[in-house]
Symmetry: D2
Subunit: 383 residues, 4 copies
């Protein structure tokens, strides 16, 4: 086995949420080491956070610019191999662009950028540098999501007709307060982007539907709503969607669905069969048939290779969110190893979301907002 | 206790489905007796069906016209008290109109009529005759649906924001064959009406959402689809809906959702709480709160009077579809008793769907179809 | 179809529970009519109860003795066809014996009698008279229980190894109070018998395990417990059980399991497959396999004829406790019709529990109590 | 934050199962580093396995004896801090004894030893050395198990009455084959110990019941069974159990329950409330009450500090088996840090299973076997 990869991190300091998640995910397989970081836009908080995380002081940076500059100077066998970007959305693009410019691979929390224009610029830079860009659409890392995709690909369901995907939460049902750092930046267009709820979680739902079905969202008829008074961005949204090859569906996201935790769920129906999966009980996949009893597929069962290689434990030992997240890191890490060995990327061999997903995801968000503001029923997703 | 009520039935002979269901529902409490019937539009099948059902030969009629004529001649203490109409949709109006003209109360399967115009005519006749008209929106008969409505009324959920209601089935995922009598008439506009799936089951979903929320659907943005080639009516449909008082929602129905049985489900979210109910496990109602654990309300628990009077067994003894259906008959029967005693109807005291629900339901169906055929995003439900 | 059967009832008046359940169950199919009754051991309450139920005054009796005497005098086409006994346990035997002596078929709530000696006497009388005796072990009436039994019979599970059956409730977790009539008689040995919890509900669990597996409980190692101070009978019990043909298992019943409603559940494992069923969600049967995904069998699916003939509605229309109970009545009614036509009973053709189940059930209860009082590990069930 | 702890491992090489699990669990928090190992009793396989795991060659040992010898010679800031023992059961004692003798803390897979005598010897050595010994009863690491224990401690359930704990699997339903290394050693008394199923998984169930209830198993009436022909050890077992303070229960384990995966489940009932938890859906804890609706507690909710500190993600982001396992490592790691700082152990402050659990667990296993071989009903657990 190759040596551990060295990871740097931007963001994810004290008070943050997603940074810790990335660190668990990167650590789980024991193949990636967090070597350096610039953990906050506030220099003091950055340093304090790095100390808490046990980062060596000479690699605990006050800013991402400094980090890229200093790491670049290190010998190849000490320098970080890639950077994980876990800042609020508005910083994704500047940090990613700087990292690529400095020659570092990037793995970035979603959405890829603040808007579609940035995403296109970033894609151009990724293409020009030939470096790797991974986007952590975590939920596609679950073994039963891999299995669902494999079942669709096998053709067992027949031609696809209908997909119903939703992602509902209740944590923004009331007005956000200043002390909830997560709520504050996610509801502010300057840090979050054009859309609140749809950008934050609807984007995951859209990605999941596309990943499993293998089809792309092409047309949208949406209504986004801001239920909580004085909130600046949508906290709820529904869209009728048309995907490629005649697949139709519903895309639904809400952050005011009181009592819902993190209810990402999908149902997909073809001519001959259907699938149902719920992220909160992620090790079960219901497989439905025209004239046979529903089957319960379970993580660790005798399923597709795609599911098997993303599974760490035997049946009945529940795998969770961090394992799914770690699968994204594992596949991205494999791609980095490949790059290190071969000096170039190999897009087709590794199963993680890329800048293409990022650009398409931003296009969906912009179309959702555009559609919601229009009296015209259908809007095409620009490409 | 008053003597048993005498019921006549139109439709529901050999090969029918819903007729038997009405008979079970009417019989369960031992307070209604099936005395007479015209069980088919085919005279021979009508007679054969009545014989099978043990109907006395002198009250086993070849046609509904004959039944109304002959029953009218019987003394008051022998004559049927009301007629149950369980024919295909296109016969609802003519039979109901004839029954009312002959002075009989009517309980009718849904939808009320073939189209909105008929529904309005029927409403006029109901008003003019002062007779009772019950519509069997069965699903509102479940104890936990009553409980859900009571919780909403109590204000515990705060102002309502979002409702997600769906009714999905898979039994029409393939082209219907001639020997499936149910499938044939339900997919034919002449017998079924303007809409297939939305008329057949979407109407139940819409009614359920309105019943529990206490709000009315006012605006619709819909897409109806016919997935199965050569089918004449929609077999799937989705609508964004605006209800009164700012409630928004999703109305979803499908008959091509392979593997789904009779999946009528509803979730409703207010400012302070939420509700979730699934018809296939009807004795459980999830009640969700902002900061407290979800509670599991169960049929037979210490709940509202509205739930209690619609419950026949202690907790843990599952009540099913027939019990819910029987609740509609029980309340309609109570209203008939009241009428017999007082010589007039008392709309407000009895909890069963009426012609008002019928008219509104037909208006929703027509708006769904109209919206689906339009490029304009929103259509108002005509009243 | 033959004419309706005429039913008489003993017990089940005001304040009773199970009498109403029997009435619903008998009424559901519209093929049995409650014609007469002696609804209480208190003559005034008997009369009042009958009035409430709409019984004609000349057939509303003050005592069961009077009812049997008077009904015997009526012409065959008016006289009751059978009697339903729904009294507390201690009255089962005297009423059943009197009914058989008067020439009436009997359907009786369980347990058959107060003790094993009575059960044996009753069996002798049933055999001598050739009349029908049905015992309402309700839970065997569910379609998915029929299906489970059919699967076992088919041999698909291989040789059976292990059965785990339980029936847990929480309603007696606190000391019973005088105003809870149900609790009072069920915890009194004079009215309930040797055992409280095991007699009341453990007996159902034992019967269910035997019905599905097709094997008989032969040896028992039990511990019965009275958790609530001053209670006279057990309110909880567990037994290791040995059944015929090498099947082993656990029999568990409790009435102090706080929060449990009516949790009758069974799991059965053979060499090649397993089954799981829960009474509170009775329309689902999990079928498990060595190397294949678990299958979800559902009421109304394409299952065995035994399941099909006990199902009234299509898939997804939940059938409940009353439908299961009605299935016992339906099969008993079929047997009564057969008797009326042929002048004799035909035990093997009709699927309802008989006096044989009653005798065996009483033997199990006595062995459970005997075992619980002994330091010896295993006790044989006397036959 | 302190520097990472250095871990050595004995066992867990190619073809092993539990070793990889320990590695994931140790790595997740990024606070423990696998520095060295003797990964197999076969020297060549040991070396090959270490290479695969990326262990530096100078710390990749051919035998555990060598490892303890060489590591002891290293400077304190390089030497391993503790050893994880993940061999088959029969090697637990010799390896642990050697590690303690060499001055290393030990974390060991369960059961602690091959038999009770060894466990007592080991306990003596732990006491004499003052070193730390952790036992990976993984399932007590789940947040909702912590919550369950906290609820019991709070007294909200009242005095405890009944516990039902089971651990059922189906993977040994057929005769094991030579190529299933896991099955082979677990069914061989020389490598596994006195008991198969009860030793392997019944021991986890017993531990869980004791951990949540806070009571100890004192008396046992058991039947162990070997269902699969020619198997040397039990593959199924049931015991009635008496715990301290009047708590009674059922302990059930099986490895021939076809279709079960890793079904560890517990229900616990007190005078005023009850709890239900299933390991396969570990983020849900049902909390039941006398007269209030059941509440659904969920990982990440506003629960006890004990649950909170064992939770890594927000509500609705499922935590799994590896997170629970990592919690054992986290608490053991905290204890190691404490020892390193203070030069002595502090048993009471850290929440992980110790040698006391190991001794008691072995006593339970021996009593289960003894009881199963006896005609006497009850056997006391020797202490």
């Amino acid at each position: 086995m190759a040596k551990k990869l060295r990871m740097g991190m931007v963001g994810g300091g004290q008070g943050a949420f997603i940074g810790a998640i990335h660190r668990y995910a990167a650590a789980l397989d024991g193949q990636i080491e967090l070597m350096c970081g610039a953990f906050s836009s506030n220099p003091q908080r950055a340093i304090d956070s790095g100390k808490e995380l046990g980062i060596e002081s000479n690699r605990n940076y006050q800013s991402f610019e400094k980090m890229f500059e200093e790491e670049s100077k290190l010998p190849a066998d000490q320098r970080m191999d890639f950077v994980a970007i876990v800042t609020p959305n508005h910083m994704h693009y500047p940090v990613a662009a700087a990292a690529l410019s400095a020659g570092f691979h990037v793995i970035c929390d979603k959405p890829a950028t603040l808007d579609l224009a940035q995403a296109k610029l970033l894609k151009q830079q990724v293409q020009e540098t030939g470096l790797l860009f991974g986007l952590t659409h975590t939920y596609t890392g679950y073994p039963m999501v891999k299995e669902a995709r494999a079942i669709v690909k096998s053709g067992q369901l027949g031609a696809l007709r209908k997909v119903v995907v939703e992602y509902t939460q209740g944590w923004l049902a009331q007005a956000e307060t200043e002390d909830n750092k997560q709520a504050v930046w996610r509801t502010n267009p300057e840090t979050s982007g054009l859309s609140g709820c749809m950008g934050d979680i609807g984007s995951h739902a859209a990605n999941l539907a596309e990943y499993i079905s293998g089809e792309r969202i092409e047309e949208i008829s949406a209504e986004l709503t801001t239920f909580v008074p004085n909130r600046m961005l949508d906290d709820d949204g529904v869209a009728l969607i048309h995907l490629s090859n005649g697949l139709k569906g519903i895309l639904h996201a809400s952050q005011v669905a009181v009592g819902e935790e993190n209810n990402l769920s999908i149902r997909l129906y073809g001519e001959k069969g259907g699938l149902e999966w719920h992220q909160q009980e992620p090790n079960t996949l219901e497989v439905k048939w025209l004239d046979e009893p529903t089957q319960i597929f379970r993580t660790g069962g005798n399923h597709s290779p795609a599911a098997a290689i993303n599974t760490r434990t035997p049946m009945g030992h529940p795998e969770g969110y961090l394992e799914a997240f770690a699968n994204i890191y594992r596949h991205f890490g494999d791609a980095v190893h490949h790059y290190k060995k071969h000096g170039q990327s190999d897009k087709s061999s590794f199963d993680y979301p890329t800048i293409d997903d990022g650009v398409h995801g931003m296009a969906i968000i912009e179309t959702l907002v555009q559609s919601s503001n229009s009296d015209q029923k259908w809007h095409k997703v620009s490409t």
